[in-house]
Symmetry: C2
Subunit: 266 residues, 2 copies
Amino acid sequence: MTAIRIDGATRLYAIVGDPIVQVKSPELYSELFAAAQMNAVMLPMQILPAHFESTMEALVALGNLDGLLVTVPYKARAVPFAHRLGPTAGRIGALNALRREADGTWTGDMFDGMGFVRAAERKGCVLRGRRVALFGAGGAGSAIGCELAAKEVESLAIIDPQHERATALAGTLAREFPDCRIEAATAVPAGTTMIVNASTVGMRSGDGLPGDIGSLDSAMIVGDVIVSQEPTALIRTAMRHGSPFVIGREMLAGQADALLAFFRRG
Amino acid sequence: MTAIRIDGATRLYAIVGDPIVQVKSPELYSELFAAAQMNAVMLPMQILPAHFESTMEALVALGNLDGLLVTVPYKARAVPFAHRLGPTAGRIGALNALRREADGTWTGDMFDGMGFVRAAERKGCVLRGRRVALFGAGGAGSAIGCELAAKEVESLAIIDPQHERATALAGTLAREFPDCRIEAATAVPAGTTMIVNASTVGMRSGDGLPGDIGSLDSAMIVGDVIVSQEPTALIRTAMRHGSPFVIGREMLAGQADALLAFFRRG
């Protein structure tokens, strides 16, 4: 591992969110930058909700900050800071990465869906034809839903306590992917073969399951975006029933190459 | 040297200034923090003058930023961000350090003068009784003038292209130190035995001397706050004439222990 150095010429990248201690990107990208011989670091920055827009304005105006990652709860609120959006971010109205261009404008895109799908594929999971129940219609859920539909899952049932958010996402994705059966739901449908948690349930240590997940078995794929030291209740349940699973850290690792290339304008 | 690590729990410190690539504090303090087992880093942050106040507001509102260093040209503009000032900062109306207290308020103080004086004393320079010519009545110049007067130099002639700034500083210090002969000047007085550059002359690579410094010899002490790879024109002149000298990096090193204790509320 290449040692991280910081000096006056170090270029800054930051991941903004609230809370922030749980994020793993500062380690991951600071080390990737060092390994790529970039004099750059990825910092955790906790922005409180009342200050999000004013802080983002300050960050994009810094003379030596070149990129941002965006995590919960800001993936949609960050969109207005992009002068242009990549295809996935444009489709779903949420982003998790912003980079400064040579002319000082900012480009945003969303890599969570790609990261999740790559992580599942690296584990040998076949996604095509799956009947998916997706908890959470926020930024990460939108991105994952979009990418799963692009991978030709058979159906996608979107569950969110804010039901209108689930309905809106289902509508957006149904227009883009007419061959996939996409709908908002209030429970995991019978016949589901893949369950993904893209809600924030599991971030807090006492959290349980994101909802009633029915019975699991080894034919069911389970995914969880939560990045945590301990497995979430959902992942523990998957382990107990022998279900293949994808965790948040694998989703992060699955998008690292693409994100590094994005930041390097590669 | 302890390796620098960055993760989600890393606490942030930043040095704000414009330009920023020349600063040495990011390396120095990131390594001191690591050596002190603190999960913390010191970052360079380039704030453009039109954005100073709004950016500072954003930085002090970050949930995981605990301290700031302030360099050119912001040492006076940063004062309103302190809820209370240490004695030196209060005297001169400029600060180079801010720390967040447990209650979320901010305390500011100024360590440049102490750093300069300690660096001179470490080199064996006797300051008492010196007749000093000081170029630059900004934040660093004010701090150094104050600390030299406290060390009982005989006289202090303050030279600044903004003459009213020199006059104001001379008035402030004369009230505090009635036993020292303190005045604004337009040239280095005859009989000067110590010359200090606390102006920004020397920051740019083509810069010459801060003014007409007359003739140097081995009895004259020369000091320069400029932090640079190459010695400044002033320090090169001191070297040629065998004058003992103090450079900007030594001033930084001279205040490091006190600043680390300040940040650790120690």
